[in-house]
């Protein structure tokens, strides 16, 4: 059995990227890249590298620094990368390899497949196993169809906020088009990963605060609100892949991921949604809703079947952690023809 007590922390690791202005270097990190226990030939493989120099442009023209995972395992130096990170999509029953390559002399990261429940070594939590230094193969078997996401679990408070997450979808064995075996069918789908950004955090180094510096990570004061990587102020209303165009009679599957830290409420612009799953598990009885209250990392899978043409603005409200007041909104749109 893997013993966390044998993990060797690297205190005061020579700060990647010079430790930046924080001047501390990294503490309580556990660089390693052991052999994967019980490695077998997988049914499907994903290769993920790291980019630390991405950016997105907000509707007000601001450029926000973004970190994430690249597809293919290469290093996105100078290239940035997709945001959110490229989706991982597999079928129930498959054995999956997620190969993560990290330039451990510069920074450390992991992949935690959120909602996936593998062995300790493959759970991707630095403090409980190791932070990847080199290449590690996360091996897991997709037991339950549904909507998940994956994110970095090193200095998580910062790394997930910086954008290091992507969708993770497990289709039933019969493939896309059915939410889960015996569950509802759908004609089209969309992933809405709703998140907030505190741009003041987006200048920090990967190891910020780990040695005890006060870098303000106890308080999130977001100034931007996004849906699947797109500014929810205006752009998400029309952005391809976020906004939905559909026909009367079609069944839309919304895979809603509360990808930020704040509590959210999503309303579907007057449409009724039927929630069939949450957190990758079918509900015993689906529920009909016009709004969903969610907290960080929850997922809700909803089927919407409009009965007439119309334009519906979907609104996601974000609630301040302290005051519980709405401090921001993000909007996208369902257009039914």
């Amino acid at each position: 059995m893997f013993k966390i007590d044998k993990a060797i922390p690297m205190m005061g690791m020579g700060g990647g990227m010079g430790g930046g202005g924080m001047g501390g270097g990294a503490c309580y990190v556990y660089p390693d890249a052991p052999a994967t226990p019980g490695l077998v030939t997988p049914d499907v493989t994903f290769n993920r590298g790291i980019y630390m120099n991405g950016s997105i442009t907000m509707d007000d023209g601001a450029q926000i620094r973004i970190w994430g995972f690249t597809d293919g395992g290469g290093m996105g130096m100078g290239m940035g990368g997709p945001f959110p990170s490229p989706a991982i999509r597999v079928r129930e029953g498959q054995i999956v390899h997620t190969n993560l390559t990290v330039q451990g002399n510069m920074w450390l990261h992991t992949i935690h497949h959120h909602g996936i429940e593998p062995s300790t070594e493959n759970d991707g939590v630095g403090h409980y196993s190791f932070d990847v230094n080199g290449t590690y193969t996360y091996q897991w078997k997709a037991a339950h169809a549904g909507t998940y996401f994956y994110h970095c679990h090193t200095n998580t408070v910062l790394h997930a906020e910086m954008g290091m997450y992507g969708a993770l979808i497990i289709d039933p064995p019969e493939g896309p088009g059915t939410l889960y075996s015996g569950g509802p069918a759908y004609d089209l789908e969309v992933v809405w990963a709703a998140d907030e950004i505190d741009s003041s955090w987006h200048t920090l180094d990967w190891d910020a605060g780990t040695c005890g510096q006060d870098v303000g990570l106890h308080r999130l004061n977001p100034d931007y609100f996004i849906i699947t990587g797109v500014d929810g102020a205006r752009s998400a209303l029309t952005a391809p892949g976020v906004a939905v165009n559909m026909q009367v009679g079609q069944r839309l599957l919304v895979r809603y991921i509360c990808a930020g830290y704040l509590a959210q409420r999503i309303t579907f612009g007057g449409l009724t949604a039927t929630v069939h799953m949450s957190d990758g598990r079918p509900l015993p009885n689906p529920v009909e809703v016009t709004a969903i209250d969610a907290v960080s990392a929850e997922r809700y899978d909803c089927i919407i079947t409009p009965t007439e043409a119309g334009v519906h603005d979907v609104v996601i409200e974000f609630f301040d952690q302290i005051t519980n007041q709405v401090i921001g909104t993000a909007r996208t749109r369902i257009t039914v023809e």
Binding site: T156, D214, F319
Partner: protein
């Protein structure tokens, strides 16, 4: 208040602890109702936070010379009468309140008061000081009460899914500026800005830290927070929020069965890996099933995993120190 009188609680261990030596809530059902006597001394002191700061707290303590934050958990059964005696050792008023069940009213400096009440409804309850709300409660004057169904040893409410062991987690957020103001007997004037985040009064430590694995300090090893089980050891966790923030409770390795929120049984039991913990005295009750982690390949039956809150600001201490916050360990043994 004399600062030298403060009890300081740090790595030396919890003085006057009334944990009974066991982390689990232990319970043997009785054939008939009983009267349960318990005394709490309202005391004050400081507790050392992960960044080394000593922060002022008050507690419902087991003795006049100790400091328990939170107060020790009570486990009783439906129909029992509770007789709670509160001895106020401080120079400010205090009270003992369970919303909907009992309110002692103000207990003045140096006063002792006994309240008596009967519990009729199984579930999880927060006891707290209701005065100067929410300040006295946030200072640490809170604890948990578990009311078992009459004659039952393994249900949250009559007919609920069953468990074999149970824990009670009390969540709090700590703004040291507020605590310092209240130590000086004045109410805060600043916006709430918690910098420490606790589960049963402690934050987590991580490997490499001097207090890592010290059960008196490390929430990952404290016997009243760390979930320990073997396959099949279905574990009820009663989670009560003394703080002011909505939280997301995230379990690794197993989905939990979501049985109740704010004392209300859910119409259906949903399986969840992330759950809303309502703010301001809210609570949820879940069963962690200790099933073999379903996505492991090859299959495993042992391992160490975190339970942590996913509103990740709660994973910090003093503005940094990631994962020195509201987290504990789930140990499959």
């Amino acid at each position: 208040m004399k600062r030298r009188d403060f009890l300081k609680i740090g790595s030396a261990g919890l003085a006057g602890s009334l944990l009974g030596g066991a982390g689990l809530l232990s319970w043997t059902p009785r054939a008939s109702a009983a009267t349960i006597d318990r005394s709490f001394y309202v005391t004050e002191g400081t507790i050392t936070q992960p960044d080394g700061s000593d922060v002022y707290f008050r507690g419902f303590s087991a003795s006049g010379t100790g400091l328990n934050v939170p107060g020790s958990s009570l486990v009783v059964q439906e129909g029992d009468t509770l007789r709670i005696t509160v001895i106020n050792t401080l120079d400010v008023d205090t009270s003992f309140v369970i919303d909907g069940l009992v309110d002692s009213g103000p207990i003045g400096p140096g006063q002792t008061r006994t309240v008596e009440f009967t519990v009729d409804q199984a579930g999880s309850y927060l006891y707290h000081d209701g005065l100067n709300a929410p300040y006295n409660r946030l200072l640490g004057l809170h604890g948990g009460l578990a009311v078992m169904p009459a004659g039952s040893s393994n249900e949250l409410y009559p007919g609920s899914p069953t468990f074999v062991q149970q824990y009670l987690w009390l969540i709090n957020e700590v703004d040291p500026v507020w605590h310092a103001d209240l130590a000086r007997r004045r109410n805060p004037t600043t916006a709430f800005e918690p910098r420490y985040f606790t589960i049963n009064g402690r934050s987590m430590r991580v490997p490499g830290h001097p207090d890592y694995a010290n059960p008196a300090v490390d929430a990952g090893y404290a016997t009243d927070t760390r979930l320990v089980g073997s396959l099949g050891d279905r574990t009820l966790v009663r989670i009560l929020n003394a703080g002011l923030c909505i939280h997301s409770v995230h379990f690794h390795a197993n989905h939990v069965e979501w049985l109740a929120t704010n004392g209300q049984p859910r119409p259906d039991v949903w399986l969840k890996d992330s759950l809303r913990l309502p703010a301001d005295k809210g609570g949820i009750d879940v069963i962690y099933p200790f099933e073999a982690p379903p996505d492991a390949w090859p299959p495993v039956s042992t391992g160490h995993y975190p339970m942590h809150f996913h509103d990740e600001m709660t994973q910090t201490a003093g503005g940094g120190l990631y994962q020195f916050g509201i987290a504990t360990t789930i140990s499959f043994e």
